[in-house]
Symmetry: C2
Subunit: 347 residues, 2 copies
């Protein structure tokens, strides 16, 4: 069954402060937009919270993220699908099967109800595709000029696959470092829509749920998967630095092995950006035990999202806390953590 | 042990876009402000999500709320304690013991780091008092003029007390309706701080965790507690209307029994507000089976937050979906759901 969000009767209808007031308009918003979008037993109760069956297993994963991406609609997705995928992916990075989502909106007075409907349809479709249920939510409205259209906070619960132990602390010398596909597509796609940037691209955001890929990797390598991280804000370089610091190991990356599509490379050159620092929304970095890198690589490549996966480096005993990038011709340089903000409001 | 949030070295230091960029500044924010505030095993992993032990019992409660209260600091609390209490209370209203919180911030560029530190200290103290752990979080920063200082989204997980079945569907004719204390204090306290309102009050917000009170009520009345709702946005009147509609029952309220402090009544008269529609942040409405109203009342009154609890009415067969208010002298009127927005950004 395909969900159709009812189009508001007047397409130019706008969000008002009353939609966040807890009265009749809030009630209408819930019953006319939210319930049809996310119909399920827990939500239908219209309670202050959702009551859900406790997941199996003895460990839960819990994750939350606010999404403030600007603009909210872009090639390949929108703030709604981004929020679902971002949260589902954070659960997957804990080795957890995503189960339930909570959805909280902060709307700016004057945001078109038709745009809200479009975002909710996107949340509905992407959560159904990712097999998670949106079971509870909240909506607040702020005055014009005190917000920016729509902000979304999604929180997810997942059940951790038994026997899996994903933690930066388990990363150690000899581990292979893989990336699940070509990088920097989300960031470049968003940037191409920003005012004042003079480049045109057909490039779409890579926003997608990584759970199917992660599930197959865990099935293949089990507890030999030491750490997983999706390379969002700050890109692959930030993820590598975080892991190097947490695990107190060195990481050596072969720059030439990192998959970057020609179009992305071109755009990065024009903009003066290093693709290693540009955000992804459907790519992860995996640290797996010595000797199983190739096996995990083959598994990733069989997954729809992992066809361009590569082994890009390894964990070393030298230079703990530091990531070094081999630049070809025998040279190498430190790949540092980003100092400031490269691309504001990318997610 | 009392937590002391380190005061940022330069007290005039402001939030910049870089604090939300995922690089060095984000890392500093996490390690210097968040980790000291909410130190626990799950958070210390600095993973994309938290791994927590699965709660006992076969049912979980999940709830989420965004907080956009203006101003963020007020007598009796601030946006931080409000967020913790609001979420903990929504869990309590499901009959769930609060366990874990996820905390997501949307900051406006230029928000003072000292104010952020103050909010985090408040979240830390109120969550510790409520015995919930903040196990995961996120921070985004938006440009000046695209937000309003600080917005907080908290999501909570709780374990539902075995044998408890709280649902509007269980409300039926004969049920007693109780309110746990005097109403409208949060709303009036916030309003007194708004520009252009010419009244002065010593009144503080009633923001507080209702779980201890709810726990004692559940221990006393068990599954004879049919529904619980905290009377936040839209006040007691909105809660009553929501239940009347969900349960398809009539509700009769004795206006004179509703506890309203003299100071609140005076302020409401000046402002032209009906206290029944004004927000509370530490008061709940309880629907309990016929015959156990007095027992629950005595239990509530033994709790610190329930000293002014009252039985305010009952559920009736007549006028399903409608709340009627007895106004004294034998008269009565419909107590409708609020049409628009009475008090924007009250929570």
């Amino acid at each position: 069954m395909r969900f159709e969000c009812p189009v508001p009767s007047r397409t130019r209808e706008l969000v008002t402060l009353g939609h966040g007031g807890g009265g009749k308009l809030t009630h209408r918003l819930v019953t006319e937009l939210f319930l049809p979008a996310f119909d399920n037993d827990a939500l239908r109760e219209l309670h202050d919270g959702a009551v859900v069956p406790a997941p199996r297993g003895d460990r839960l994963a819990l994750t939350t993220d606010s999404f403030v991406v600007s603009p909210p609609f872009f090639r390949g997705g929108d703030i709604g699908s981004l929020a679902v995928h971002g949260t589902v992916n954070d659960l997957a990075m804990c080795g957890a099967r995503p189960l339930f989502l909570a959805l909280s909106l902060i709307l700016e007075e004057g945001f078109p109800l038709s745009d809200l409907s479009r975002v909710l349809r996107s949340v509905s479709e992407s959560s159904r595709a990712a097999r998670v249920q949106v079971v509870t939510g909240d909506t607040k409205v702020v005055e014009r000029g005190k917000g920016d259209g729509i902000f979304i906070t999604t929180t997810g619960i997942g059940e951790i696959v038994p026997g899996i132990e994903i933690s930066p602390r388990r990363v150690s010398a000899g581990d292979s470092v893989l990336v699940s596909g070509s990088i920097a597509e989300h960031g470049i796609s968003i940037l191409s829509l920003r005012d004042g940037l003079s480049f045109d691209t057909e490039l779409a955001s890579d926003t997608a749920s990584l759970w199917p890929l992660v599930e197959s990797v865990l099935a293949c390598a089990g507890d030999r998967v030491h750490a997983l991280r999706d390379a969002t804000r700050g890109g692959v370089a930030s993820v590598l630095n975080e892991i190097a610091r947490s695990a107190r190991v060195g990481i050596r990356i072969e720059g030439e092995r990192v998959p970057v599509r020609e179009e992305v490379r071109g755009a990065c050159e024009v903009l003066g950006l290093d693709p290693l620092y540009v955000a992804n929304e459907g790519k992860c970095v995996a640290f797996v035990a010595a000797g199983c890198g190739d096996e995990v690589l083959r598994t990733m490549r069989r997954s729809a999202l992992g066809r361009d996966a590569r082994v890009i480096g390894e964990v070393v005993d030298d230079h703990p806390g530091v990531v070094r990038l081999s630049t070809g011709f025998g040279g190498s340089r430190v790949l540092d953590m980003l100092s400031g903000e490269q691309l504001p409001r990318i997610c």
